[in-house]
């Protein structure tokens, strides 16, 4: 057995250990690398930034489940902080049952930081099943789908939703999702109602969303933790996203090195066998 073959036979738990170490170290020895802003993030930021304070609300659909929490929660925190700092009203809802608890946690934490008042500056509508049916129904009248907020208060009693009938009165919808919910907003809110939609998705999905972005069906796009980090940079409030970027850098380098070594060993061992 040549050395190359021996390298390839290494117990993979050593690699697991290497990854664990590589991800942990930057937490204690931060590199503080700057995060450059990319156009899809900038345009989503601009769309939120242009919203009028204390007027028609931003509809934030927090559609993620725990499985994609580390990528998407930093996005919702950054967007909510942006809104509360600028006094932009926010209405939060969710299309995923697990999003109920997660959306509530995000919006209440962000609101506490900025002393935003429930009902006046923001509201939480809770969860409704049926994705496409919910999105289409809200295009007719939000009250058809959400007659009351998550805590049972009628929507008409919430000042933030006063005079908000349907998408005509909502300048921007942002969906944060690790599954097809973000696409559903394009199909059922943008397409029939011409609603302006922005999205924040996991990095796994991000490349598939470029056609929507390019065709103007999405106003902006946050892709994965990096997208959140950029948004945090834009509102100048670094948090989980920016904190993760150092570890991300180190592990990406490590993986590229692993691919290179693995391929080198593979081709060397194969060449030795062939003659």
């Amino acid at each position: 057995m040549s050395w190359a073959e021996k390298v390839l036979q290494i117990d993979r738990r050593w690699i697991f250990l290497a990854i664990a170490i590589a991800v942990t170290i930057p937490f204690f020895l931060p590199l503080g690398l700057p995060v450059v802003i990319t156009p899809p993030v900038q345009s989503l930021y601009d769309a939120v930034d242009e919203l009028e304070p204390n007027a028609a609300p931003l509809l934030l659909s927090i559609d993620y489940a725990p499985a994609t929490l580390p990528e998407l929660e930093p996005m919702s925190m950054a967007i909510l902080r942006h809104c509360f700092a600028k006094d932009v009203n926010v209405v939060v809802m969710t299309l995923h049952p697990a999003g109920y608890g997660l959306a509530e946690r995000a919006v209440l934490n962000a609101a506490e930081e900025y002393d935003a008042v429930y009902g006046e500056d923001f509201a939480f509508l809770g969860f409704q099943p049926g994705v496409s049916a919910v999105i289409l129904g809200m295009g007719i009248n939000i009250r058809n789908v959400f007659p009351a907020d998550a805590y049972g208060a009628p929507v008409d009693d919430l000042p933030v939703l006063q005079g908000v009938r349907n998408y005509d009165d909502i300048p921007l919808v942002i969906s944060l999702a690790g599954w097809s919910a973000a696409e559903a907003w394009v199909y059922y809110a943008h397409q029939p109602y011409r609603q302006t939609v922005g999205a924040g998705v996991t990095a796994v999905m991000a490349t598939d969303f470029y056609p929507y972005l390019d065709a103007g069906q999405l106003v902006g796009l946050l892709g994965g933790m990096r997208g959140a980090a950029e948004y945090e940079g834009l509102i100048q409030r670094p948090d989980q996203g920016v904190r993760g970027m150092d570890s991300q850098s180190v592990i990406h380098l490590l993986i590229i090195v692993l691919i290179a070594i693995g391929n080198a060993a593979y081709f060397i061992s194969r060449r030795k066998k062939t003659p």
Binding site: T24, P70, F127, P147, T207, A215, Q217, S247, Q248, H252
Partner: protein
């Protein structure tokens, strides 16, 4: 109190990671626990957010959103019928009457199938066609447009020719592959430079040409009614090149995604360790 809850979360997190060493009872415990807890959570959420206000409350308590409705009124029936249909779905657990569940399923499956049809046509076909019907001239001057076109096609053809020619020679040598890639990249970059010297619109037109050819190529690759020969074969080859680069981007992004999840969890554990140190004053 918060600390106790966080500790529970942290211990469960560690139980899951113990799977990396090997399958073990801690992992299995956490795995089964989450199956039960999440099912219970979803049940409660579905019930209180939807079934209670929209079915139970109108049918049995005779009120919708706090407003009373009459027994046997239109709204009452409109809550009762879908509720009954929903209950029919459970007939599948009783083999003898399982078929009645199909009535409800028919409405559900047909309704959602119809709901998606037209918006998908609009969003995934028509809008994408609109966005990709790009001008490949880039400038209003027909002469410059022709020059751009010729240059871009030439460069692109050279790049593809190199890729395909090498493939047909059957080179198995990885160095040769890398060589082809490097040569193509240099040629493409050189062409790009020349083009941008002639006019900045040239860059626009090259990008547009690539977008158009890439889309046509990808569509051709997934076209099964003709043999991949001649122009169609060439386009399909181009398509596979684009597909592979696109998949490469997905690959990179997926790696990024999974690592972000790990970073998030490690951050959580580190914060937890920080809390322990805070409490025990270490």
């Amino acid at each position: 109190m918060t600390f106790i809850w966080t500790t529970i979360g942290a211990l469960l997190t560690l139980s899951i990671y113990s799977f990396l060493y090997k399958d073990n009872p801690f992992y299995k415990f956490a795995e089964h626990l989450v199956v039960g807890v999440s099912a219970g959570y979803y049940l409660v959420i579905y019930y209180f957010n939807y079934i209670h206000p929209n079915v139970f409350s109108p049918v049995f308590l005779l009120e919708i959103g706090g407003e009373p409705i009459g027994f046997g009124s239109f709204l009452w029936w409109m809550a009762l019928i879908p509720g009954l249909l929903g209950v029919l779905l459970y007939a599948r657990f009783f083999p003898k009457i399982a078929w009645v569940g199909r009535w409800a399923l028919g409405i559900y499956v047909g309704g959602y199938a119809g709901l998606g049809l037209s918006p998908v046509m609009q969003a995934r076909v028509i809008e994408q066609l609109r966005a990709n019907a790009l001008s490949i001239a880039g400038v209003e001057d027909p002469f410059a447009a022709m020059t751009n076109l010729a240059l871009a096609v030439g460069i692109f053809a050279a790049m593809i020719y190199l890729l395909i020619a090498k493939r047909n020679l059957g080179a198995k040598n990885p160095l040769a592959k890398v060589g082809v890639l490097v040569v193509s990249a240099v040629v493409a970059y050189g062409g790009w430079l020349v083009l941008s010297l002639i006019s900045s619109a040239g860059v626009v037109s090259l990008t547009n040409i690539l977008l158009v050819i890439g889309l046509l190529g990808t569509l051709s690759y997934f076209f099964f009614s003709m043999k991949h020969k001649g122009i169609l074969g060439g386009l399909a080859r181009v398509g596979i090149v684009f597909l592979m680069v696109g998949f490469g981007a997905s690959f990179g992004y997926t790696v990024m995604s999974r690592i972000s999840l790990l970073i998030g969890r490690v951050g959580f554990l580190i914060d937890w360790v920080g809390q322990i140190r805070g409490i025990f004053g270490a």
